[in-house]
């Protein structure tokens, strides 16, 4: 897409990296702990062959080791990919990690603007802006914004959405 579309102007907050890292760590830890519990439970399974029963912990270790590079890479890659812009009354946002997503939402078609902050986001002083139109494919979620930036963007979007007349749909 490098030849076709230019990058959206604004980066998300640098603290978003911490958020993504924390989220990835939480998911990984839960997964590994779950697998460890499973392997402890599996020791009672008589019908499994002995060589497998002796090595039930391998799955937990393997998953943990495989996920480590992903946990380290995800925040960095996401910080480079996630960008947003409001220009000419169109919201242009890019997101993704292994895959990519570009969304274009004209302010004239916006139905609702949500500004949300979960407990982890609150800890890092971040917020999410969610813009919805009459279609899932015209709706955008911008994560990892600084709280002040998110508040300003949500305010600006809902003000402009009121001013612009929606002429269709």
């Amino acid at each position: 897409m490098r030849d076709a579309l230019r990058d959206p102007a604004n980066q998300v907050s640098p603290r978003a990296r911490s958020l993504w890292f924390a989220e990835a760590v939480i998911v990984t830890v839960l997964l590994v702990v779950g697998l460890v519990l499973l392997s402890m439970w599996m020791t009672g399974w008589e019908f499994l062959p002995q060589w497998l029963l002796d090595r039930t912990w391998v799955a937990a270790l393997a998953i943990g080791l495989v996920l480590v590079p992903f946990v380290l890479a995800e925040p960095v890659v996401r910080f480079a990919v996630h960008r947003w812009e409001l220009a000419a009354d169109v919201v242009y946002a890019r997101s993704g990690w292994l895959s990519r997503k570009w969304v274009f939402v004209p302010v004239s078609r916006i139905q609702t603007v949500d500004k949300a902050q979960g407990w982890l986001e609150r800890f890092f002083g971040l917020a999410t802006v969610e813009i919805r139109t009459a279609s899932y494919a015209g709706s955008s979620t911008i994560k990892g914004l600084d709280y002040e930036v998110a508040a300003r963007l949500a305010e600006e979007l809902s003000r402009r959405a009121q001013e612009l007349r929606d002429d269709a749909t």
Partner: protein, 486 residues
Amino acid sequence: MSIPFQEPVPEAARLSPRLLLIDPIRVLPSLLVPLAGVLVAGGFSPRSFIWAALGVAGSVLYAVVRWATFSYTITAGRLELSRAFIGRSTRVIPLERIRGVDVTTPFLHRLLGLAVLKLDTGAGGDKQEGELDGITVEEAERLRAVLLSRHHAVIAPERQARPAAPHDHVFLKVPRAWLRYGPLSGAYLFTPFALVAGAVGLAFQWGGELGLDEDDAVAVGEWLWGHPLLLIGAAVVLVVLMPFLGAAMYAFFNWNFVLFGRGDHLVAERGLINRRVVSLERRRIRGYEIAESPLERRARVARLWAVVTGLGDSQTRGQLLPVAPRAAVGDIAAEAVGPFSEALRPHPPAARRRRLFRAIAPWVALALVMYALGYALIGVAATVLAVAGIALGLDRYRSLGHTYDGTRLSVRSGSLRRAQAVVERRAVVGWTIEQTWFQRRAGLVTVIAGVGAGSGGYKAIDAGETQAAAFAAEVTPDWMAPFLKR
């Protein structure tokens, strides 16, 4: 243009405190089950009462917290719903975008003089668009007036300006002869098997009352298993019956299909015994979708749906025609939406490789695994499917395409169900371009036109990167121009 508008007091309002009585009552049933367990297991010991009391106290506390953390404000032409506890969220809905307000009073609410107010903004998806659960009835009526006052001022003149369409003009009475196309769609072909399954289900249901039990069922099963020729015969009969029973079922549902205009509505009527009538408001129609199976393509017939804003379950309710010849489909589509004859632009050769890989690779992998494990028969079957995948993949690539004729855009994809959508430009509410990791390697993307009607989004699968951006820019140049690279 300024609209006379009664500006309400711009201060945050809460839901009625009477709501606090409702929530605990509502959670009680979910408490009863564990409560009963506690009481039964613990007897009448003080501890069980403590647990029960804790449960009730918890639900009351939950209700109080929910009530205390939620507020709504109408200010400067917008409605704000906010919730703040550990996380915070605010939803802003411009009053102009509110299309409808629905006030309901469930039983408990009615006892306390409360109401639930639901907002319809036409925003897509299954998520709740906006709800005030537990305001007084008077407040609900006041809010309805306030929320809709703008809406009517803006919308009403537009409605009157539209000329009325001719009354009861019949566009098409489907001839009986077209019923023979029905089984080609494939959907009705499995009728015999569905009937047998239904009969077996009934036999099990009534068997008990006739004095038959599981042992009898097992005995019947064993007897059948002992006579394989009978089983094979039955299977052959069922397969032979497929087209006939399928045709009968299709005819039953689509008997005397009539499409006519009544006022500003398109009305489709069909059915042998139950006449099913669906009427679609013409000014809400934004496009159409044509679907064909390979058999239907060979017979030059197709199915047609209207893409309508604000119509749920559009796949059944939006149907404009049963299986009908292409010429008739084209005529009705032109009548309902407008003529469209623009040729589709093909997608890059990389898309062909991707379609082929996706159609063949899973079967090759399965075949290899099965050969390795020694299940030669399944391996052969998978190999046959892999070979068939070549034709399927090539056909899927041929189906891919997109175009724009100045007022309507069109996208097409699929082989076993090739579907082409034609949608008016004014229905587009945004664009999404998606690229998986594999698509990135191939330099392809899937571009989705967001539409506030029908399925919500129409995809041009595996378009070239530049091609996709150019397509979006061609349909909506104002929106895309600032972001294109020159």
